[in-house]
Symmetry: D4
Subunit: 162 residues, 8 copies
């Protein structure tokens, strides 16, 4: 089993479908990860304990997915100097605008790297984590460059019939 | 000096002008209060310690004012079963919509009593706190009834010349 | 039958599905409640009569659920010094933004404790009512503390397989 | 002094600058009017009493101007079968979106004729009142037709130098 | 067949489902009406011709329903001094915000009485038209007062089981 | 004097400051233009007459600038098959969102080429007009290519001292 | 096979359903076109190469359809002096507001002719392209005038039964 | 002079005031940086050349600041596998919503780490860059931990007099 480099936390079990996209990317790139359900509002102590324990375990990046008043990513960032990536999960009401603004509008001093709303953002969270890890991992960097080429190639192969 | 029944926390010193409205109300009603600058993002431990110490000190209500990704009220509510009142402070960009949605859109299980944006909301936070305290304080209830009458009277006295 | 401590009013029968969440909480906590359909716009006199009669009956808190131009909670608050909790019900058009702004943006002097849009907000309205009542009811306070612990425990037990 | 045909109510003295535009129109068209400060939230009884007394006094149209959670026009409409015109007054936060949605998003059964936000809407409220009155007043109809022609003429006379 | 007092225009055949609500009201109140599909953008000349011919036919009120960049009500108002009521029809994208702002944000000089988005607004357009006509029709006024009472009665009869 | 190829219409004299940006571009590119104040709502007949007369005068493109419920560009497009460019003028309330949605959300069949809000959009309207005219005017095309190069050059020359 | 005058690019295969509307129009008007899947973000070099090659091939207009952070139309416009028409494709979250603002809010110097969101905009993109080409093609101009007449005629023929 | 590890690009000279906040942070942390004015729309080739040259020069992170249809960060990300941080610069119209959505709503495959709007976001961009670099630089990590402590300390020292 791989050493965990990326810790993914999500605010509720219902965020699972979105977070799956992040997991798929990390698996593809062979990056060790873990997934926890931890809520800024409902399990604040457990969340803090989890976040404070990350450096000792060698975890390098935290990805946090939450919806509505999405305080999760910001609360994680409050307790660590590791880079924190936030995924705003779309909600039925307000079409995700609440999740987005809560995640992205962080005050001075505590950055959260906010992704786009929902599954696109979840996939991109995984890719950004790999890009950061690739700064000190040449194998990962080459995989990332190949991923980018494959993505372009896949688009170029599309034939449109209209 | 009055026993503190209402603890006001604000996320940044710049929220002072708004919170002054809350203080004015509590002073007028003779309710003991305190004001602290504590940030969900920049002083999370101090905030938790403060909130967890409130019941022993006999504090009954928390009022939290913050702007942008306003996690403050929600983070307070995560650590107490006392009623928590949130004041969304208006920001220059997005005209306060971010503060409002971050404060009001709390997930199931952790309520925040959200007020209107800015000074109106700050004044109303003070009034709501008094209304809650008045449930077990007849003197306060009578003052509140008088306040409501005076407010109506003041409006009725306005003479409009157009 | 329990003495009514919380009076729930809703603007239309279609708000029932949302208000059910409030009722479930109050039942679980053993708090006496009643549910009425009363509209600020269609039955204004009946609404006022209902609200003005609450104190004599020993009711302590009003919860008001309404959608669109959701004047209900504000109109209730206009006629009482009891704490008023507002639930913005989501609408098909505008995804609940109209209900939210109408409920939360109360002017100086007349607070409404606004919850999040829809079912989350309805559940939280029930919890906030219990938190307020718990200020003078130790049994209720202990139940609330246990509720909070159970909620955290339920999240911690979730096992994620990805 | 002219018989009052249009009763203007505004929620706060600060709405005066906006309502002045309505008054100017009604004066120009020679329509009798009155202006009252009455709040749906702060003077609800006085408001209802005022609205219920209008038909006996021969008033035909009500114009209501309010900001934020602008329940005023809707509450007037709840108590009368006279046509009610609403003016959403712009607020510093949210740039008037709250006032607009609260005024316009009326539920089935209780119409409010909503105007545009602020001074344009206030002027148009006066014009619409005159258009309604002109249905049974030929002199007023002719004045209205002339007003429309003059407005067009004024625009056609503009010389642009660029 | 009844003399047409209210002319309803809609911008597209797809607005029919919404406009049906207006028709139901006018039928119930026994007010003569007509329904035309006429577009500000696709049949501008036919629209102008229709609007300019209304006074001679004794039509007193125009109701215009349209979606997206909903210029219809404003363009009708540009060509008549009759009162014009606008219904913003909800669109799939932007959830009706475009229709609402296009209909309500009329510039100085040309009022449109804007209703709420979609079916509620359509029903209210019919009621407002009746309220305006009732200013000079006592039978209609009494029907309107009865309608209001029946509406309140219907709500009071609702029994909620929760 | 140059033959008019681009006719600029604006809904109100207050749009002048914005339209000046369009004029500056057309002057720089040596394209003949005219500027008229004509309103979809206040001078509809004059507007139609103006638009219908354009082809005979050899005008090729119409640019329409308006604010609020900005029906101008759409109404111009309703009466011509010439390309119509719309400039949403920013308003004090709603920060230009109303002007933008009214201008851009045209229904099927009647396109308006919508620019960005305010002065940027006004400048771009002039450039787009030149780009369209350049399709049949090689001198203009070369000027446009040079303009693009100069713009890039100007940016490259900027020295930042921080 | 027709000479390509209009090059349509779309950011993702999922935009096909929307772009089909553009294609239908260009086919009906007999204008030569091509459709390519090219992304500003995933195939930037291929996109630039495609855009830079257009003038030599005699292409006159580019239509770009994209969703979310819809940089496509702007990036096309950055590399050409041909007129660029943008179609904001509606997204599940945010109901298309992100696509619209990204496409329309172009800075000074680089215009994009933005259409309405989704299928209406796609159809209009095709019509605007034909209107521009019709400036130098009398047959196309006549077809366009006939199209406009047919559209009006189709609306006039609608019989409404209510 | 320090080796450049962070390359800051901004879309226009007017973004300077915002970017200054980023520079201040990088200076304080002793991280080598450079600042360039490069536009996705006005200098696309120069931008690509700049971005493609970064890896050879040992640059590790790109920060991109832009307003309106803020394609800059996304276009940078399209050409590199380095982590890209985006700062949405607030605009006068739409209060920064356009810049935010354009920067954050990136499609699958090309992440941008979006910060909050304006100066807060600019400061946070600098801090996030340092957090990423600190993953392989212990001195920087310790400075970051100290920075976090100092920030908390500064807040705790605030004395509020109300």
């Amino acid at each position: 089993m791989k050493k965990v480099q990326v810790s993914i936390v999500m605010g509720s079990k219902s965020d699972l479908e979105v977070v799956q996209e992040t997991v798929n990317i990390l698996k593809n790139f062979g990056v060790g990860y873990e997934v926890k359900v931890l809520s800024a509002h409902r399990t604040p102590q457990a969340l803090v304990k989890h976040v404070e324990g990350l450096p000792k375990r060698g975890v390098k990046i935290v990805i946090a997915a939450a919806g509505m008043s999405a305080a999760l990513a910001g609360c994680v960032a409050a307790h660590t100097v590791l880079p924190v990536i936030g995924i705003p999960v779309d909600t039925r009401t307000l079409t995700g605008l609440d999740s987005l603004l809560s995640t992205v509008q962080m005050p001075k001093g505590i950055p959260v790297a906010c992704m786009s709303i929902g599954k696109s953002g979840a996939q991109n969270a995984g890719i950004l984590a790999c890009q950061i890890l690739a700064l000190q991992d040449n194998t990962l960097k080459k995989k990332m460059q190949q991923f980018k080429k494959d993505m372009a190639q896949a688009i170029k192969k599309i034939k449109v019939k209209l």
